[in-house]
Amino acid sequence: MVEALLSAEDVSKDFAFPRSVVDLLRRRHVTAVHALNGVSLDVRRGETLGIVGESGCGKSTLARCLVRLHDCDRGRVVFDGTDIATLRGAARRRFNARVQMIFQDPYSSLNPRMSVRQILSEALRVHRMRPAGEIDGRIAELLEMVRLPADAADRHPHAFSGGQRQRIGIARALAVEPEVLVADELVSALDVSVQAQVVNLLLELQDRLDLTIVFVAHDLRLVRHISHRVAVMYLGKVVEVAPTEALFTDPRHPYTQALLAAAPEIDPGRRSRRAGARGELPSPIDLPPGCLFHTRCPHAFDRCPRDVPELGPRGPGHAAACHLDAPAPRP
């Protein structure tokens, strides 16, 4: 059994709507977006775990819970044997350095008033990574690591393209020598030709620095390319998790099958598009009973709206949450 470095154990997270006075007087229930509904997931040391799903599936909320930008409402996140909700003071700062997040939007995640040198040295100083005298040297090293020219240090974020800004974001995360990187839609704001540059860089850095990576994305191709294992999320739940090849060649959950069927082929000779899921995502405020996917599932039967399926084994390291053992992909 490979050691789990970072685990989510039955994590749930709701975002409540503010209640007005009228709501209070009428004793209306608190309405909330149920972003995560009992997610259990292990991230193993040294691996890249891809988390894939469409908008609203809770993948970004999960990423934020993993780095404790959100506290979970139920369940817990365990890092290296400790529940991260219990960390205080120095121990929490230490955790923040060991688990770093890189954000989606390279335009809003860098302070426009700070130069790259200020951005990086702030990270180095807050976590006391280097004595003052060594900071400039370390900055040069970090810029070299993410393939930015040394003179980038004295420019401000606006002087850089989207791809270069994501490199600055990566350099900032690496400044504190983390063990785990949580990358939320790292390249989805970038053009394809630039995406490939950043993805290659991330893979190289992982090799060189022994990083554990949680790669959150909606792009199946990228997730397949970069991940050792992949978890598929739907409406705040993990519906399937498996080693990458097993997931892509033998998907066992109807939603995974629908996602794969919907991904367009880059080959005009194979136009076999079929929409594998009917309709659209139900509201995360008012979740369907039973299996969350049953409203769109081509295989749904009488049990699905009643019973919640648990994640069950489907092969080595492969689990799916479906009442059917092997739903046949639709012809």
């Binding site: 053009d191 394809v192 191709r221 390319h225 060649t249």
Partner: protein
Amino acid sequence: MSALLEVRDLSIAIAGAARPLVDHVSFDVAAGETLCIVGESGCGKSLTALALMGLLSNPPLRRTGGTARFRDRDLFELPPRELRDLRGGEMAMIFQEPMTSLNPALTVGDQIVEAVRTHRACSAAEARDRALEMLRRVRIPAPEKRLGEHPHALSGGMRQRAMIAMALANDPALLIADEPTTALDVTVQAQVLDLMVTLQRESGAGMMLITHDLGVVAGLADRVAVMYAGRIVETGPVAAIFDDPQHPYTLGLIRSIPALSGERRRLATVPGTVPTAAAMPPGCRFAPRCPFAGPDCRAAPPLAEITPGHRVACHRAPIEEKAA
């Protein structure tokens, strides 16, 4: 097949930049065919569409040359009144962001009714019937109910369907779609693309589809034009573009996309980034990022035919051997 739309040497400039943003772009769209214009952000694909619809914001943008013949009329020479009759009638556009291109203060039904009554003489009741029929055709569930709803009450996919219903309400001969599914999730994107293919087949309209997504291109296009930094660098039948790409940029684009099956290999990359409007290089605009560039690339290469219908703007074409 005679062309429905014939664009020749379209150029668009922005105040303050030395070189045009769209530079001598020419292409045809025939009835019943889908031409995909593909390129990355800033390549001028959306500007081209906006210019055809007469929607360029002038200033700072200005059309500096070119013609666009649509059914024997030059779109750029039409008096505003006639252009207005054409738009939304014979020639319709679907925009990327359905939330900002639908009027939030009007119901979906009212917006389609308005589109219908602007272009044909009919009673309000007839227009309403037409709106209902269109919502049915784009497979919006419970169309009678949706007619009376405002756009905010609809999901993203439903809004895009409503946009398509509105665009098709007057049976356009030419449909211009600018990233129609980019804002949608993949499972919904697949549904909307399916729908567009079916509706186009039924109506026989020509379609000009603008996208950055090569998957959409591979699934929909009859012919493809690849744009880079304001120019068409390669154009041809869809099979030729994917099986036998000849421009180094097209090659780079196709190879930088990870596969969904088979071996996982290191992704090819195109070094550097797209030039900004203020810093367009002279000569071949791809040369600064091109692995095959040489001194002759300081002169802009012509878009030359290498096999019937397949044109490439590169001094090195054909390149297949050197790229391996």
